[in-house]
């Protein structure tokens, strides 16, 4: 198995509605990543693309439509899809294109243009539900999250105000992110008292609708060494999918995230993640999800992530804790679904390579993790990067 290095990354701004077509967004992110890596498209052997449901961009076989913008003309090109987990999963996908020995280099691109969907992107989500037993009930996307959140709160006695602090933290962190869409200073009261969407979810606990793209360049060890310099390496990957019968599951704990994390930890040789992971980007499309996922990642005991939040353990400037979502996450930077997941993985690359600028965490970090989640609350995807050792 070949070692895989990260050579560069690029992003577009995350905006509510972009002028650019999806292809154009892909090109903007891909060229930024190639520039960051000091490479040209001729150096790229294959391309992988992540994009969430076709229903958002409104293009069937969306991967095919986006491919020239992603730099894939005349190249082996692969689109892989695991719902909301897709963005982070693009790092494992790119990793095995290189680790398997099939290719020297891989350009990883993620894109979402949600603003295409009318009357509102949320409407496209109704078709995620079972057509026989669920869709006829007049479902909407927020149901499933609010149901899970409520169960999580009830199981561990977590107050709404604590969960709101995730939104406060991430929107604040995002003020330093150049791509950010919904950054700002908010109080817990403002979050809790914002409009109730689907109790217990309020408007400011939900990530926004976003257009944007992100890209990453991966290469094998020989290529990376020839390029010179110190590199960030992909050290572990994991993914896992639970049953589609989501109403039959324990909603208080994301077992599939734990399974994915264990797969990645094992590959990275990590036995004590709370000591060996120094910065994390857990998936935060909703405020409670960050806490839920930190527990699934085994970075906190079940039901204890909220307490650690109150202690400042997940803050960006912590010296003793594990900064969580230093980028600002989906709640602050925005949520162009697959691009948001890849943005989180890219943040780990920036943090570990010291490129995070005003967002640079204060504690030293040799290893970081990004995680995403999706489908009917059933996919966990995890990637771990580490610095040269």
């Amino acid at each position: 198995m070949n070692r895989v290095a990260v050579l560069g990354a690029g992003l577009t701004r995350f905006v509510r509605r972009a002028l650019e077509t999806g292809r154009e967004l892909c090109w903007e992110a891909a060229t930024a990543a190639l520039q960051d890596a000091d490479l040209t498209l001729a150096d790229i052997d294959c391309v992988v693309l992540g994009s969430a449901p076709d229903a958002f961009d409104g293009v069937h076989m969306k991967g095919e439509y986006l491919l020239d913008g992603a730099g894939a003309k005349g190249k082996p090109y692969m689109r892989i899809f695991v719902g909301g987990g897709t963005g982070v999963f693009m790092v494992p996908v790119g990793w095995w294109h290189v680790a398997s020995g099939a290719f020297r280099t891989c350009l990883v691109v993620a894109e979402e243009k949600m603003s295409s969907t009318q009357p509102h992107p949320q409407a496209a989500f109704n078709a995620i539900y079972d057509p026989f037993t669920e869709r006829p009930l007049g479902v909407n996307l927020l149901w499933i999250f609010s149901l899970e959140m409520h169960r999580y709160m009830k199981t561990y006695g977590i107050p709404l105000e604590t969960i709101a602090q995730v939104a406060v933290k991430n929107k604040r962190n995002a003020k330093d992110h150049p791509a950010s869409q919904v950054a700002g200073d908010f109080t817990v009261d403002e979050i809790v008292n914002s409009e109730v969407m689907t109790y217990p979810v309020t408007r400011l606990m939900v990530s926004p609708v976003t257009d944007g793209a992100a890209a990453l360049v991966l290469a094998n060890e020989e290529f990376a060494r020839r390029k010179g310099g110190k590199h960030v390496w992909v050290e572990g990957v994991g993914w896992n999918l639970d049953t589609s019968y989501w109403t039959n599951r324990d909603l208080a704990y994301p077992q599939y995230v734990e399974n994915a994390a264990r797969m990645a930890y094992k590959m990275a040789g990590i036995t004590d993640p709370r000591k060996e992971i120094h910065v994390a980007e857990p998936y935060d499309p909703f405020a409670y999800k960050e806490l839920h996922h930190l527990e699934g990642l085994l970075l906190a005991d079940k039901g204890q992530a909220p307490r650690r939040l109150e202690e400042g353990f997940w803050d960006r400037d912590t010296l003793t804790g594990i900064p969580a979502s230093p980028s600002g996450g989906l709640l602050g930077v925005g949520n162009p679904i697959a691009a948001a997941g890849l943005m989180k993985a890219i943040e780990i690359y920036y943090q570990l390579s010291g490129k995070a600028g005003a967002r640079q965490i204060r504690r030293s970090a040799q290893r970081g993790l990004a995680q995403a989640w999706g489908d009917l609350m059933q996919v966990g995807t995890v990637m771990i990067m580490g610095v040269e050792r």
Binding site: R23, W27, T31, T40, A55, G71, S116, N126
Partner: protein, 153 residues
Amino acid sequence: MREYLTQTAQLRQVPSEWGVYYRYTYGVAGERFFRELRDHGHLVASVCPKCGRRFLPPSLYCEDCFVEMTEYQPVPGVGTVQTFTVLHESLDESPLPEPLVVAFVQFEGVHGGLLGTLRGVRPDQVRIGLPVKLALRTGQPTPSAADIGWVPA
């Protein structure tokens, strides 16, 4: 209760509809192309600063060199049919009232080309190589690819 369906009367289908529609922005290159088309009635191509090719339809980037294209140039007035089909079926899979000639047209010195309906010629008279010119539908509030058609030059 049986474990398998044994009668056609037991077959069930459940309808489902997504209930969404779409609005697509024309993008950086599309904005330029369709504004030129609406305001000046002509086609423009984008020029790659690296390979020098002129792309139709124009694009923000060269798909081979992967560099930005910012220069636009008008396309010659007369092109030739590169390939065509006589279409008999509608998008709803019912017969079209009149068969349509769909033609892909290229222009000298321009990479790529454009699709449009070819009118003013009987389907059995159309040949690859036929010279044609743009026949633009006008009067629409927003310029659209559907405005683009051809007539023999």
